[in-house]
Protein backbone atom coordinates (compact mmCIF):
# COMPACT_ATOMS: atom_id res chain seq x y z
CA UNK A 1 0.00 0.00 0.00
CA UNK A 2 1.09 3.56 -0.58
CA UNK A 3 -0.08 6.74 1.07
CA UNK A 4 0.72 10.41 1.33
CA UNK A 5 0.14 12.59 4.35
CA UNK A 6 0.09 16.37 4.33
CA UNK A 7 -0.41 17.06 8.02
CA UNK A 8 -1.15 20.76 7.70
CA UNK A 9 -4.50 21.51 6.13
CA UNK A 10 -3.77 25.25 6.31
CA UNK A 11 -0.58 27.30 6.54
CA UNK A 12 -0.60 31.07 6.94
CA UNK A 13 2.40 33.35 6.85
CA UNK A 14 3.47 36.86 5.94
CA UNK A 15 5.02 37.86 2.67
CA UNK A 16 8.80 37.66 2.86
CA UNK A 17 8.83 34.79 5.31
CA UNK A 18 10.15 31.36 4.47
CA UNK A 19 7.59 28.69 3.70
CA UNK A 20 7.83 24.97 4.22
CA UNK A 21 4.94 22.65 3.45
CA UNK A 22 5.20 19.21 4.92
CA UNK A 23 4.68 15.94 3.12
CA UNK A 24 5.34 12.45 4.42
CA UNK A 25 4.76 9.19 2.65
CA UNK A 26 4.47 5.50 3.19
CA UNK A 27 5.89 3.18 0.58
CA UNK A 28 7.98 0.06 0.65
CA UNK A 29 10.70 1.40 -1.64
CA UNK A 30 11.96 4.82 -2.73
CA UNK A 31 9.00 6.29 -4.61
CA UNK A 32 8.69 8.97 -7.21
CA UNK A 33 7.44 12.15 -5.55
CA UNK A 34 5.74 15.21 -6.97
CA UNK A 35 4.40 18.58 -5.92
CA UNK A 36 1.52 20.27 -7.75
CA UNK A 37 -0.13 23.62 -7.09
CA UNK A 38 -3.75 24.60 -7.58
CA UNK A 39 -4.61 28.29 -7.63
CA UNK A 40 -8.16 29.23 -6.58
CA UNK A 41 -10.70 28.11 -9.15
CA UNK A 42 -8.03 26.68 -11.41
CA UNK A 43 -6.60 23.36 -12.42
CA UNK A 44 -3.34 21.83 -11.21
CA UNK A 45 0.12 22.83 -12.32
CA UNK A 46 3.32 20.84 -11.91
CA UNK A 47 5.96 22.31 -9.60
CA UNK A 48 8.70 19.70 -9.25
CA UNK A 49 9.46 16.03 -8.90
CA UNK A 50 12.00 13.66 -7.40
CA UNK A 51 12.80 10.55 -9.37
CA UNK A 52 16.37 9.69 -8.43
CA UNK A 53 19.74 11.31 -7.81
CA UNK A 54 20.18 14.62 -6.04
CA UNK A 55 17.80 14.68 -3.11
CA UNK A 56 17.20 18.42 -3.42
CA UNK A 57 15.14 19.21 -6.48
CA UNK A 58 14.35 22.63 -7.82
CA UNK A 59 11.18 23.42 -9.66
CA UNK A 60 9.19 26.21 -11.16
CA UNK A 61 8.23 29.47 -9.45
CA UNK A 62 11.28 29.36 -7.16
CA UNK A 63 10.23 26.27 -5.22
CA UNK A 64 12.44 23.42 -4.13
CA UNK A 65 11.94 20.22 -2.19
CA UNK A 66 14.16 17.79 -0.37
CA UNK A 67 13.67 14.04 -0.42
CA UNK A 68 14.60 12.53 2.93
CA UNK A 69 14.48 8.78 2.94
CA UNK A 70 15.39 8.65 6.64
CA UNK A 71 12.07 10.12 7.70
CA UNK A 72 10.05 9.49 4.51
CA UNK A 73 9.48 13.15 3.79
CA UNK A 74 9.41 15.42 0.77
CA UNK A 75 8.85 18.95 2.10
CA UNK A 76 8.32 21.89 -0.22
CA UNK A 77 10.23 25.10 0.45
CA UNK A 78 10.48 28.62 -0.83
CA UNK A 79 12.12 31.76 0.47
CA UNK A 80 10.89 34.40 0.46
CA UNK A 81 7.20 33.70 0.01
CA UNK A 82 5.09 36.05 -2.07
CA UNK A 83 1.37 36.76 -1.77
CA UNK A 84 0.92 35.22 -5.23
CA UNK A 85 2.02 31.88 -3.78
CA UNK A 86 -1.34 31.62 -2.04
CA UNK A 87 -2.86 28.41 -3.36
CA UNK A 88 -3.49 24.79 -2.52
CA UNK A 89 -0.46 22.52 -2.76
CA UNK A 90 -0.63 18.80 -3.35
CA UNK A 91 2.09 16.28 -2.69
CA UNK A 92 1.83 13.08 -4.73
CA UNK A 93 3.54 9.71 -4.70
CA UNK A 94 3.93 7.39 -7.63
CA UNK A 95 4.67 3.76 -7.02
CA UNK A 96 7.45 2.19 -9.04
CA UNK A 97 7.44 -1.47 -8.08
CA UNK A 98 5.20 -4.34 -9.06
CA UNK A 99 1.48 -3.67 -9.23
CA UNK A 100 1.98 -0.10 -7.94
CA UNK A 101 4.01 0.97 -10.97
CA UNK A 102 2.51 4.15 -12.34
CA UNK A 103 -0.09 4.40 -9.58
CA UNK A 104 -0.31 7.99 -8.38
CA UNK A 105 -1.62 8.87 -4.94
CA UNK A 106 -2.28 12.47 -3.94
CA UNK A 107 -2.27 13.90 -0.46
CA UNK A 108 -5.23 15.94 0.76
CA UNK A 109 -3.43 19.17 0.09
CA UNK A 110 -2.30 22.19 2.10
CA UNK A 111 -3.94 25.55 1.63
CA UNK A 112 -1.28 28.24 1.83
CA UNK A 113 -2.19 31.85 2.54
CA UNK A 114 0.49 34.49 2.29
CA UNK A 115 -0.50 37.86 3.67
CA UNK A 116 0.91 40.93 1.89
Amino acid sequence: AQSVDQPDAHVTLSEGASLELRCSYSYSAAPYLFWYVQYPGQSLQFLLKYITGDTVVKGTKGFEAEFRKSNSSFNLKKSPAHWSDSAKYFCALEGNTGANTGKLTFGHGTILRVHP
Binding site: Y32, Q42, S43, L44, T101
Partner: protein, 113 residues
Protein backbone atom coordinates in the same frame (compact mmCIF):
# COMPACT_ATOMS: atom_id res chain seq x y z
CA UNK B 1 3.48 23.01 -28.03
CA UNK B 2 0.94 20.65 -26.56
CA UNK B 3 -2.47 21.92 -25.55
CA UNK B 4 -5.24 20.22 -23.64
CA UNK B 5 -8.82 21.35 -23.92
CA UNK B 6 -11.67 20.22 -21.73
CA UNK B 7 -15.35 20.76 -22.30
CA UNK B 8 -17.68 21.95 -20.98
CA UNK B 9 -16.27 24.36 -18.45
CA UNK B 10 -19.18 23.76 -16.11
CA UNK B 11 -22.37 21.73 -15.98
CA UNK B 12 -25.44 21.77 -13.77
CA UNK B 13 -27.35 18.51 -14.14
CA UNK B 14 -30.23 16.72 -12.50
CA UNK B 15 -29.87 13.45 -10.64
CA UNK B 16 -30.55 10.60 -13.03
CA UNK B 17 -29.63 12.52 -16.14
CA UNK B 18 -26.81 11.48 -18.50
CA UNK B 19 -23.41 13.14 -18.66
CA UNK B 20 -20.63 13.40 -21.18
CA UNK B 21 -17.38 15.27 -20.57
CA UNK B 22 -14.66 15.58 -23.15
CA UNK B 23 -10.96 16.21 -23.42
CA UNK B 24 -8.75 16.79 -26.46
CA UNK B 25 -4.97 16.89 -26.59
CA UNK B 26 -3.23 18.57 -29.48
CA UNK B 27 0.44 18.53 -30.37
CA UNK B 28 1.32 15.14 -28.91
CA UNK B 29 0.77 11.80 -30.51
CA UNK B 30 -0.14 8.76 -28.44
CA UNK B 31 -0.25 10.49 -25.06
CA UNK B 32 -1.21 8.68 -21.89
CA UNK B 33 -4.55 10.09 -20.80
CA UNK B 34 -6.18 10.27 -17.39
CA UNK B 35 -9.41 11.33 -15.74
CA UNK B 36 -9.27 12.64 -12.20
CA UNK B 37 -12.07 13.68 -9.86
CA UNK B 38 -11.79 16.20 -7.08
CA UNK B 39 -14.56 16.60 -4.53
CA UNK B 40 -15.06 20.18 -3.38
CA UNK B 41 -12.13 21.05 -1.16
CA UNK B 42 -10.77 17.55 -1.45
CA UNK B 43 -7.93 15.60 -2.93
CA UNK B 44 -7.65 14.08 -6.38
CA UNK B 45 -8.80 10.61 -7.20
CA UNK B 46 -7.72 8.95 -10.41
CA UNK B 47 -10.72 7.48 -12.21
CA UNK B 48 -9.40 6.11 -15.49
CA UNK B 49 -6.29 5.99 -17.58
CA UNK B 50 -5.61 5.09 -21.19
CA UNK B 51 -2.35 4.20 -22.87
CA UNK B 52 -3.70 3.81 -26.37
CA UNK B 53 -6.80 4.24 -28.51
CA UNK B 54 -9.63 1.95 -27.55
CA UNK B 55 -8.05 0.84 -24.28
CA UNK B 56 -9.19 2.30 -20.99
CA UNK B 57 -8.42 1.04 -17.50
CA UNK B 58 -10.72 1.77 -14.59
CA UNK B 59 -9.08 2.69 -11.30
CA UNK B 60 -12.14 3.19 -9.10
CA UNK B 61 -15.79 2.33 -9.49
CA UNK B 62 -17.97 5.43 -9.34
CA UNK B 63 -20.70 4.45 -11.83
CA UNK B 64 -18.78 6.28 -14.55
CA UNK B 65 -17.27 5.06 -17.78
CA UNK B 66 -14.58 6.35 -20.08
CA UNK B 67 -13.67 5.86 -23.69
CA UNK B 68 -10.87 6.85 -26.03
CA UNK B 69 -12.37 6.94 -29.50
CA UNK B 70 -9.42 8.77 -31.04
CA UNK B 71 -5.76 9.11 -30.18
CA UNK B 72 -6.27 12.68 -29.00
CA UNK B 73 -9.69 12.36 -27.36
CA UNK B 74 -10.85 11.06 -23.99
CA UNK B 75 -14.50 10.96 -22.97
CA UNK B 76 -16.02 10.52 -19.50
CA UNK B 77 -19.68 9.60 -19.27
CA UNK B 78 -22.51 8.09 -17.34
CA UNK B 79 -26.13 7.32 -18.14
CA UNK B 80 -27.41 8.26 -14.68
CA UNK B 81 -25.86 10.91 -12.50
CA UNK B 82 -25.79 10.65 -8.74
CA UNK B 83 -25.50 13.47 -6.24
CA UNK B 84 -22.09 12.09 -5.31
CA UNK B 85 -20.81 12.79 -8.82
CA UNK B 86 -20.61 16.49 -8.09
CA UNK B 87 -17.11 17.89 -8.13
CA UNK B 88 -14.28 18.97 -10.37
CA UNK B 89 -13.26 16.67 -13.21
CA UNK B 90 -9.78 16.98 -14.58
CA UNK B 91 -8.33 15.46 -17.70
CA UNK B 92 -4.56 15.05 -17.85
CA UNK B 93 -1.90 13.69 -20.13
CA UNK B 94 1.66 12.46 -19.74
CA UNK B 95 4.44 11.31 -22.00
CA UNK B 96 4.77 7.94 -20.35
CA UNK B 97 3.04 5.88 -17.74
CA UNK B 98 5.79 6.15 -15.12
CA UNK B 99 7.79 8.96 -13.53
CA UNK B 100 6.23 11.50 -15.78
CA UNK B 101 4.76 14.91 -15.13
CA UNK B 102 1.00 15.20 -15.47
CA UNK B 103 -0.33 18.09 -17.53
CA UNK B 104 -3.84 18.98 -16.53
CA UNK B 105 -6.66 20.53 -18.44
CA UNK B 106 -8.62 23.44 -17.04
CA UNK B 107 -11.28 21.12 -15.64
CA UNK B 108 -15.05 20.81 -15.65
CA UNK B 109 -17.04 21.78 -12.59
CA UNK B 110 -20.07 19.52 -12.26
CA UNK B 111 -22.99 20.24 -9.97
CA UNK B 112 -25.62 17.54 -9.62
CA UNK B 113 -28.93 18.66 -8.13
Amino acid sequence: AQTIHQWPVAEIKAVGSPLSLGCTIKGKSSPNLYWYWQATGGTLQQLFYSITVGQVESVVQLNLSASRPKDDQFILSTEKLLLSHSGFYLCAWSLDISAETLYFGSGTRLTVL
